[in-house]
Symmetry: C2
Subunit: 354 residues, 2 copies
């Protein structure tokens, strides 16, 4: 049986319509919808429309708030701090990115720290926008505690992602989007949702023992990449996103799923570099193309048909799914269908060919 | 038999004197000497005085040049490009760091890219200086090809380090200094020098097979941390340090040991953040102290007596070796003694108690 396919633009419409039903303005509803469908298009189901119901529930519960727009709390030279006012993460993130983009146009580089934000989707959503602007983006975020420091067994750090977007010319752009844990917590949550087992090197249980049960892993701690190196990277990201911005840090960052009385208070950092301050953009793009082709020409390992650059698989998936329709896991599609029914939104139109 | 101990300040004097014998100015000779002894103090032998003879040989061979100072090739807003003019890496790095520090004082953040540089020692040398200035430093460098891209077997990337320094108050500062490979190439070179075997997960030989022979590993490729994630980080660092600055990139970066006709043309990036643009420094330092204490209070794994923060082991080693004297491996001490004899420099005074 072929999986059902959905039209990505219609999915955005449906998702945006759902957000408006819980009081999100039309403009912001489209931003968040784009962020979620962006993740599904790239095959990152864990950060896609599977998160829509929880976003809506948090708005309805009042732990995500819509009454105040994100605002600039400080701006000085090439730096700024944005207070997200506990609005939806993608709305806050887009606001902060636009400010960072504009700072980099003026001074070559922009540094925007963000506090009082929420889960802001995949980092690649922002990186893709910077790439379109001819800028380099480094984006960092902290996240609810799920990873132990080296030597410890209790969760302290989030999977604190780091992402980098760099434009190329004819070749696919460089788009690295990685958790500092071996895998993102969302992947384990999705395995739990699907009832699948996980590899034993992803996480430890509450006693510090490796486990293949995603439910025990979610109660225990994730493992960082490269041992103490990943621990160091996660801590650096937490200090910048949490301590420097004034957001929560460590276990002070609240869960998206389990805490219904407090805001998440996530912190992010958007660091933009305007390439035109260094080189004419086409010159840089040409160098990037040559560089990428050099990498692809490296002798290949047995069984590897091609050397891929970061983000290339996801970009191909996106192009395919834009053309053929987005695959949604049956469980996720059913949940969205039910949510649409609850709010009187037409789900059927999202099906390809409808 | 107790290892021989050497006085760190006398080691700096001796090293500086040696550099002046091959034409380095007194001021620059001290900078490079400090950089090398800094590494030995922190227990990073691979980047310490073991590199002094090769630095000298490269100056004598004319592949490192002393006739032109590093200069600012571009300065615009919060960004700058420094041309190292193929001077010693630590001299170039210190110049670029000072510029980045001053940019960050003005605009909150400073971004200095560097081209035409050489091996610049440990990144922690620069991070320590930024910490003293109440700034956060992110420092990146590319390096001669030694690591394969994921899916490839030939070396393309260097071990491209990333380092971050962040000041604390009473607690030890955060000082992460890591290669994006499982280990730095210098550690394998040192094992080869000492005739020791290496763990099999560090590197592959020329055919792509894991090896415990450091000599075969040096001919093959190092492995990145976290698989494709480490590959992505190494590529990001190479693009910023190489393509954005105009330095060499990928296999275009020349070997410190094997290429006697071309400059290395290494690129670096120094990114500084001035904490006072965000918070009064003592407020930030107090938060860092509290944060570090929270981490140290996480329940410990069986066998772990303490949770350490990045850079803490090396800092303790440094304090111990400043007080008790620096341990040098016998082979390294002999080579330095011989070099001193060749240049008529008094080596004996470096011994503790001499």
């Amino acid at each position: 049986m072929n999986p059902l396919r959905y039209d990505w633009m219609r999915l955005e419409e449906v998702a945006a319509e759902l957000f408006t039903r819980v009081g999100v303005s039309d403009h912001h509803a489209h931003t968040v919808a784009q962020s979620l469908v962006h993740a599904d298009l790239r095959g990152i189901e864990s950060h896609g429309l599977s998160r829509l119901p929880i976003y809506m529930k948090r708005i309805e519960a009042g732990v995500v708030q819509l009454d105040q727009e994100p605002h600039i709390a400080m701006q000085n030279g090439a730096t700024a701090l944005v207070d997200g006012n506990n609005h939806l993460g993608a709305v806050v993130g887009k606001h902060a990115l636009e400010l960072a983009t504009s700072l980099a146009r003026q001074t070559g580089i922009g540094f925007v720290g963000v506090r009082h934000s929420n889960h802001f989707g995949t980092c690649s959503f922002y990186a893709e926008r910077s790439i379109e602007q001819g800028q380099i983006l480094l984006v960092l975020s902290n996240a609810p505690a799920s990873m132990a420091p080296t030597g410890g067994i209790g969760p302290f750090f989030g999977t604190n992602p780091i992402a980098v977007g760099i434009p190329a010319g004819q070749e696919a752009p460089f788009l690295l989007d990685m958790a500092t844990s071996v895998v993102a917590r969302g992947k384990i949550a999705l395995a739990a949702k699907k009832g699948e087992k996980i590899p034993v090197d992803w996480a430890i249980d509450q006693d510090g023992t490796p486990t293949n049960d995603p439910k025990l892993a979610l109660l225990g701690s994730l493992l960082p990449i490269g041992g103490a190196k990943g621990y160091g990277l996660a801590m650096f990201i937490d200090i910048l996103c949490g301590l420097l911005t004034g957001a929560a840090s460590g276990p002070g960052v609240q869960s998206l799923y389990e805490n219904w009385t407090q805001p998440q208070d996530i912190g992010h950092v958007f660091l933009t570099i305007d390439i035109e301050h260094f080189w004419p953009l086409p010159v840089f793009q040409r160098r990037m193309d040559e560089y990428i082709r050099e990498i692809k020409a490296v002798p290949k390992a047995e069984g590897a048909s091609e050397i891929l650059i970061p983000g290339e698989i996801e970009r191909r998936k996106m192009m395919d799914q834009k053309a053929q329709g987005v695959c949604l896991a049956p469980g996720i599609a059913r949940e969205l269908e039910q949510t649409c029914a609850d709010y009187g939104v037409d789900w059927g139109r999202a099906r390809v060919g409808s």
